[in-house]
Symmetry: C2
Subunit: 340 residues, 2 copies
């Protein structure tokens, strides 16, 4: 069923039918009514490609996930982010298209996304500190919003980020205030911007209290459970083990907890743990009784907001870049306690 057939069925021109369906005023209410009913009855919906070709809009948003040998963005965050964004999109009649792009041919990939024209804008995931994609997309004139920031990029661009620095500063201070002096950082990969910021904030908070950084207490890897376990196990075996852990994700913190248990220690009493919590749907940090003391910031909410920003950008291409910084809340769970 296409427009032409529908028009013939109704004994109307394609123009009139199209106008009726798209809410143009040049058509009488009676006609519009008739057209809408027929469309529903005959189960007509316009061909997206043809519509896109004619209007120049794809009504789709691209989510580009960089992949490389060292690192892969398909992580637990992504599902929740998409779920949030998807909610916003579907209200606005937009679709999500996902591209996995190898960062070897990143430039080529973005250019081709641009000229293939099947998305009206894109969300950039996993920004590095110095991320070439921002300049590239700006040059290409394709609307985009970065989930996160790129510290070393000075161009103006639209982004939405959690205040990772502030969050980790507060978390570090929280442990310091409890009397901890040996505080470990089990961080994500530090060429990722968010992890870099956390690292810097942690360092600054310690320096503020005159505590020197100990490289033996700092790790930076992909945030898996096993990584948390291994790191914590090794650190707890040191002559001078940490009494507090700052961890970059719930999954990793679960690994840390496992190591603590295996060492015969109790979390919250012998060893304190604070983690960042993205508030993932299936991995709730117990909203009533938090398991972990955590810096919480909903990634699903971030998805919704980033999507709104992007749609806004698409509708008003002339608009200046939008930015939004979300504060994480520090929630107190039972994984922290005074230093022994």
């Amino acid at each position: 069923m296409n427009l032409k057939q529908l028009a013939e069925h109704l004994n109307l021109s394609q123009t009139t039918v199209s106008r009726a369906l798209n809410g143009y005023p040049e058509v009488s209410e009676k006609t519009r009514e008739k057209v809408l009913r027929a469309a529903r009855d005959l189960n007509y919906s316009p061909n997206a490609r043809a519509k896109g070709l004619a209007t120049g809009r794809a009504h789709a948003i691209g989510h580009v996930l960089p992949i490389s040998d060292q690192h892969e963005m398909v992580n637990p965050i992504f599902g929740d982010f998409i779920a949030g964004a998807g909610q916003t999109y579907s209200k606005a009649g937009y679709e999500v298209v996902i591209s996995l792009v190898d960062d070897k041919d990143e430039e080529q990939a973005y250019r081709s996304i641009r000229s293939r024209g099947n998305v009206d804008g894109i969300i950039v995931h996993g920004p590095r500190m110095t991320d070439g994609r921002i300049a590239l997309l700006t040059e290409l004139g394709l609307p985009f919003v970065v989930h996160g920031r790129a510290s070393k990029v000075s161009l103006p661009y639209s982004w939405l980020d959690t205040n990772n620095g502030r969050a980790f500063q507060r978390a570090t201070e929280f442990l310091l205030d409890l009397g901890h002096r040996r505080i470990a950082l089990i961080n994500g990969l530090e060429f990722m911007d968010f992890a870099h910021r956390r690292r810097v904030a942690y360092g600054a908070a310690l320096a503020d209290r005159g505590i020197a950084l100990d490289p033996a207490l700092m790790r930076s890897e992909e945030m898996t459970e096993v990584y948390g376990y291994r790191s914590a196990a090794e650190m707890l075996a040191l002559d001078n083990p940490p009494t507090g852990f700052l961890v970059s994700s719930m999954i990793t913190a679960i690994g840390v907890r496992r190591a603590i248990h295996e060492a015969g220690l109790e979390m919250g009493r012998d060893v304190s743990v604070i983690t960042h919590d993205d508030d993932l749907g299936y991995l709730r940090n117990g909203h009533d009784v938090p398991i972990f003391t955590a810096t919480r910031s909903s990634v699903r909410l971030a998805g919704m907001r980033a999507a709104e920003m992007l749609l806004d950008l698409i509708r008003n291409p002339a608009r200046a870049p939008l930015t939004q910084l979300m504060e994480a809340e520090l929630i107190i769970g039972s994984s922290t306690g005074p230093a022994q």
Copy 2:
């Protein structure tokens, strides 16, 4: 840059340029060479909408996630599945389009996906035991592959599934062989087909040894960490607590482990746990030293294979439905031991 401009630039007709780019034999190698170089230099890539309109193929695959109030498919599995499928797609030049559809207007949604024509086929996620989508899609003539099965649907259709029944039967028998008699099932939602099969297999294995089902030891909910924790905590507080747990996902098993620890028990000694393990990238069950005894089946691999099946179906529309059953392997970790 579009075809016309490229053709003008080369002083050729659009036809010739198009043929050169798409590898048709009617164009000389010399010309083709020239065209390809120009395309690369000028960063031309064809407009996907126009191409799709002309060819009738979208070069995109839809992944449809049902959402409802009671249940939401955006779960940890999804990221890995897409990562696997995406690998196959990008090799074949296909994109992924994600639609979140509310199951209230499911029928409408699938019909509209069909007629909007921006995907060539779809992967159906999260099949229920009696899933209306299968009949609907068959009727619509849209190629599709189901990730999982629908037990109560008798139509032939293409699917790829893990042998959940066999896996949970083996797991149950494994615990029985270790002497466990009170075995709990912390299952997923049992209107989901995979969970139903697990439930049936668990029941059958117990019945085989003449053990009656105890409703107090059976749960069926969304597979979160908190659910695992709460269920296990409650069961361990029973007068006659279980000595073995069969759990439907790693995340939930982590919750179970937490409850066991909090009860002052040790997993693998006082209480045994077997979980299903989807082999998620960021939540590895320790490939060298498994944390949990588990039935393992890579969901990423499932994604790759399902994608291949679908592409096959798209290329040969006349082909009979394809089916593929993946066996899970039972890996022995340290979370199980003889019943006390």
